[in-house]
């Protein structure tokens, strides 16, 4: 089957990991404020721009002219275009900026509206409004003369720069072995997804903050009565959700051909629907559920749908989102609380029992 080579499998895993780390943020913020945040993926975009700018600034300041480093490791060739610390600084800033934008939305938009008694519809529309504001800010940012000059000056470094978009995919780490080439961002996405799962699990179950988060989510009034500053706990939760989106933003820089504030091909506009789907299919009130749901939706769109092309023709891949929406519809019909609400032990036991009988 031509549809599944190593390259496209990795692509699918990359996409699935990306969706799962974005879905978990949607779920975390939903659990605290009970609102679907339409601006969530734009946090990632903002983080991308900041991280990209930082890379350009560092490249300029330290006169890094894309002297690529090459390593040979166990028959593999590894190309690392930038010193590792440049990547690290960019990553940390993406993480922090994503979190800060989320906190700003929480304190400046959602909290005041909630205090005035806004319903869930009003809150949801407000997240769209916040998204538009972020888009506008990104447009302004990209057309600032200083930023334009910065991007033009480093043109040799970054490959190509359009007026309002960035292209930095050539700065990604590349690992190649024989005919197989794998991008750093692809591997990093899986590492981020795994780190998110483990990190959140430890945070929520092993730390005081985690128990405070869970208790404030379940019963804010009771948490308040016990002296927990629920507002602050929620703000921290939003920070974490935004920071995780920032990780996705960091991946966008290298994995996306162009970064643009808004366009049909910009990651945030393309995948927000899939991210919501992941969050819903996994179970909107479950953190582990959202990680699994995001991953599943990613695999459906980029792995299973291409498998259908021998039957339906290659055009089928254009309709990948239809299958995500189908998954959402089926979930809402049969298991409205999502995959997380399914008693998996029982399902497996039943399955096992049946297996023995036959």
């Amino acid at each position: 089957m031509a549809a599944i080579d190593i390259q496209s499998t990795f692509q699918a895993l990359y996409y699935a990991s990306l969706l799962s780390i974005l879905s978990v943020g949607i779920t975390l913020s939903y659990m605290t404020t009970k609102v679907f945040n339409f601006a969530h993926v734009r946090f990632a975009m903002v983080a991308s721009y900041v991280a990209a700018t930082i890379i350009l600034l560092l490249a300029k300041a330290f006169n890094i002219h894309g002297d690529f480093a090459w390593h040979n490791m166990a028959g593999m060739q590894v190309r690392i275009p930038l010193p590792w610390w440049v990547y690290a600084v960019a990553l940390i800033s993406a993480f922090i900026v994503g979190g800060l934008v989320a906190v700003i939305q929480y304190y400046l938009v959602l909290r005041p509206l909630q205090k005035r008694g806004a319903g869930s519809m009003a809150l949801m529309i407000s997240t769209l409004g916040f998204d538009f504001i972020l888009i506008a800010i990104l447009f302004i940012y990209m057309t600032l003369p200083q930023i334009r000059r910065l991007t033009v000056k480093t043109v040799s470094l970054v490959g190509r720069v359009a007026f309002d978009s960035l292209r930095m995919d050539s700065l990604d780490i590349v690992i190649s072995s024989g005919s197989v080439t794998i991008r750093g961002a692809v591997i990093l996405a899986m590492i981020f997804a795994l780190a998110t799962i483990i990190g959140l699990y430890l945070l929520l179950t092993r730390t005081k903050l985690g128990v405070m988060m869970r208790s404030s989510i379940e019963n804010p009034n009771l948490a308040l009565v016990l002296g927990i500053n629920v507002d602050r706990v929620f703000a921290i939760t939003w920070f974490i959700a935004g920071a995780i989106a920032g990780l996705a933003g960091y991946l966008f820089i290298f994995a996306t051909v162009y970064l643009t504030p808004v366009s049909p091909t910009t990651p945030s506009d393309q995948i927000i629907v899939s991210v919501f789907a992941g969050s819903i299919v996994g179970g909107i009130n479950s953190v582990p559920g959202s990680i699994g749901g995001g991953f599943l939706i990613g695999l459906i769109e980029k792995f299973f749908v291409p498998l259908l092309s021998p039957v339906f023709g290659p055009g089928i891949v254009k309709y990948d989102k239809v299958f995500s929406m189908l998954a959402v519809a089926l979930t809402l019909l049969f298991i409205p609380e999502g995959l997380a609400s399914v008693n998996w032990k029982r399902v497996f036991r039943l399955g096992g029992a049946k297996g023995k009988e036959s």
């Binding site: 008694g117 208790s215 379940e218 019963n219």
Partner: protein, 239 residues
Amino acid sequence: MPEPMLSLQKVNSGYGKFHILFDIDLEVPKGKITVVVGPNGAGKTTLLNTIFGLATIHSGKVIYKGRDITHVPAYKRAKMGMAYTLQLFNIFSTLTVKENLLLATYDIPEDEAKKRMEEVFQLFPRLKERLFQRAGTLSGGERQMLAIAISMLRKPELMLLDEPTAGLAPKLAKEVFEAIRHLGDQGYTIILAEQNAKGALEIGDEAVLIASGRIVARGKAQELLQDKDLSRKYLGLEV
């Protein structure tokens, strides 16, 4: 007269725009059990919410230990020595009994927390047997015990209890009332809101009767219990 633990001065309060309580004047003496009775929807819960900062205060003042706390947020009141057992959803049902108890003591040093837990287990030994059970699976009575235990662990100077006997069998309700009286004898200052007016008034010291958001009677708990007119009109008691 000694300074009251808590006093409300001409308080008007409610939720957002909704105005529920009207011109409430109330003094809660130290070391006494003050019982709040009244029919359903009278505003008992709202009164406790107002005291703890969970309602909107439109006008008037709340004074606690001589300090104006009208605009102090709820979580800070908890740190000032107030505890509140809510009428509904008064435990974290997705957490275990142990996690519930730990949350109640999260801001208290560990040894002290352990000591307090032992005290609580003496009063409610059943909780100790169910430490690792999810609180949502406790029986109604066990839930109320856990809810009261959570407040007790905080060693509050002022303890608000909202219908701690709701839904309990008469025998269990009696046990809970006895436990509250016991706390009162230990010197806790308690405000107890109850549907079960008779049981509450029997163990209370002071009492107020609320109807339609106003205080319509106040006095010693025993006197209110004896007042045939009031009892029949508002509390459905035959004396």
